[in-house]
Amino acid sequence: MFSAYYLQIMILVGINIIMATSLNLITGFTGQLSIGHAAFMSLGAYAAALATLKLGLPFFASLLFGALLAAVFGVLIGIPTLKLKGDYLAIATLGFGEIVRIVFLNLKITGGAVGLRGIPKSTTLLWVIIAAILTIFILNRILRSRVGRALIAIREDETAAESMGINTTYFKILAFGVGAFFAGLGGGLFSHYFQYIHPGSFGFLRSIEHLCMVVLGGMGSMWGSIIGAAALTAIPEFLRASADYRQLFYGAILVLMMRIRPEGIIGERRSRRKPPQSKDKKLGKINIFKVIGR
């Protein structure tokens, strides 16, 4: 058997796989940069914990409740995406994440700044594995369907996607909803593993960690997110060996990895160059003389 430490890391890897793949759906596949994934995680974590503690729901039902609540908020935050693009969207999601964190820090029912304790330890490695596999399976099915194609088309070219009959608004919100659902699921597993939750762990640094997993693994690659999540969960633990230099190395490793493989561990190389442009139209203008003059 594994030691409890390795077991814990594996559980965290599993939860982070759920987090990274679900963020990948939003950011990697649909192309909507989100720096607020931890907010969905915390919504799921708190909702599931409170469902267990206050409503006495069984573990499975609490998880579902947390995930659904997160999905509702995912749809709500998806609505500003109607208008926002790129970094503006990123900042709006970051702001949303901070708002959620501050609200949890001040609410009575969530224990506020003291945190919420006494959550039963229901999450086991088996649960996490099942949840992670289910997440990957469902996300894969979505991605390989008409829905997934629509999402990827939005990433590739939103205007063209709209011309193909894709209701981009609807599908962007759908991506946020589905992504948030699984983030909430991850959060529920998280709270039922640690038996305690506090808003401090769901700040924007956590969201950025999720984003790092996705980008490091390779945007828009399911395997990439899985590897990215595993790597970025394990590396900091591995780096504990370096004691005081740990965070220093962590920063350096992020820079170096991006230098070596800017496209992520798994991911195709794509440059920022513009798509092929049609050639000079003046040629066409000359042609008209020929035709008309004939």
């Binding site: 950011t27 940069l33 500003p80 208008k83 926002l84 693009k85 970094d87 503006y88 900042i91 709006a92 970051l94 702001g95 949303f96 901070e98 708002i99 501050i102 609200v103 820090l105 001040n106 205007t159 924007f204 950025i208 984003l211 790092c212 980008v215 490091l216 945007m219 005081d244 230099y245 965070q247 220093l248 962590y250 920063g251 350096a252 490793i253 992020l254 820079v255 170096l256 991006m258 230098r259 800017p262 496209e263 992520g264 794509r270 440059s271 920022r272 160059r273």
Partner: protein, 290 residues
């Protein structure tokens, strides 16, 4: 009380504005969110503090040296962490920036230790009172210096040759390059100037709050970034306006709504503004050409 709070907000906002300028300049040229900017702000503050307390350098000189050193640091970070990724996806550059930020923060932690250092004010403390507001000398100096720096930056960008090159590069990098503008030089200058402004903010915040610490860049860095976006990222007047607005919003939120929800109020304002002005207050929303 309202006017006092307004002054509080403007002073806070002007430091945000200075930080936001660094973000927005870099973004305007290379479309990169320079996440390490908060750390450059911190390093600038440390250099200033060190020169003043250990080497007894006059404050004005220390201030300038801090700006220069931070400029050099900014250029170094650009060279190591961003330049190799210029042709890669923007997110790769973002992650590299985050890595650089973590690295610098923890380097400072290792070298300087975690305890905050005292940054003694070089000015004799003095408070000016009117019937409406109370304002301290340090606050007046911060306002004046911020204003001068912003004026100087505007001059640099509007009137000088390198400023023109910057504007051209921001418009279209390829075209600028074809016109014989040395893009690398423009980018280096942008990082240097942006970082120097960040350091100026760091030193001023250092003397304002009397302390310097390795973690001091984290929140102001985030706020400066938010301010830049609020104003319309890439726009220099936007950064100034965004900084001031964020500062005032935060103070008013704490004063009239709830100090517990201060940041939540500020971020709600951000989201509402973006909802109505999706490209920030001054940013141009470019309708995509079909």
């Amino acid at each position: 009380m309202f006017f006092q709070q307004l002054i509080n907000g403007i002073v806070l906002g002007s430091t945000y504005a200075l930080i936001a300028l660094g973000y927005t300049m870099v973004y305007g040229i290379v479309e990169l969110i320079n996440f390490a900017h908060g750390e450059i702000y911190m390093c600038g503050a440390f250099v200033g503090m060190y020169l003043v307390t250990v080497f007894k350098v006059p404050f004005v000189l220390a201030f300038l040296v801090a700006m220069i050193m931070a400029g050099l640091l900014g250029v170094t970070v650009e060279f190591i962490a961003y330049r190799p990724l210029r042709r890669s996806s923007r997110l790769a550059a973002l992650i590299s920036a985050i890595g650089a930020s973590i690295f610098l923060q923890n380097l400072a932690l290792l070298v300087m230790g975690p305890r905050p250092y005292s940054f003694p004010s070089p000015f004799t403390p003095k408070v000016y009172k009117t019937s409406l507001v109370i304002i301290s000398k340090v606050e007046l100096i911060i306002l004046a210096v911020s204003f001068l720096l912003m004026l100087g930056l505007t001059f640099l960008i509007q009137k000088t040759k390198i400023g023109k090159a910057m504007r051209a590069t921001a418009q279209d990098k390829d075209a600028a390059s074809l016109m014989g503008i040395n893009i690398n030089r423009v980018i280096t200058t942008t990082f240097a100037v942006g970082s120097a402004l960040g350091a100026a903010a760091g030193v001023m915040v250092g003397i304002y709050f009397r302390s310097v610490a390795p973690m001091m860049g984290l929140m102001p860095g985030l706020k400066g970034f938010v301010a830049a976006v609020l104003g319309g990222i890439g726009s220099i007047p936007g950064a100034m306006l965004g900084g001031l607005l964020l500062g005032v919003a935060e103070v008013m939120g704490a004063a009239y709504i709830s100090s517990q929800y201060r940041d939540a109020v500020a971020f709600t304002i951000l989201i509402v503004v973006l909802f109505f002005k999706p490209a920030g207050l001054i940013g141009r929303f470019l309708q995509e050409k079909v």
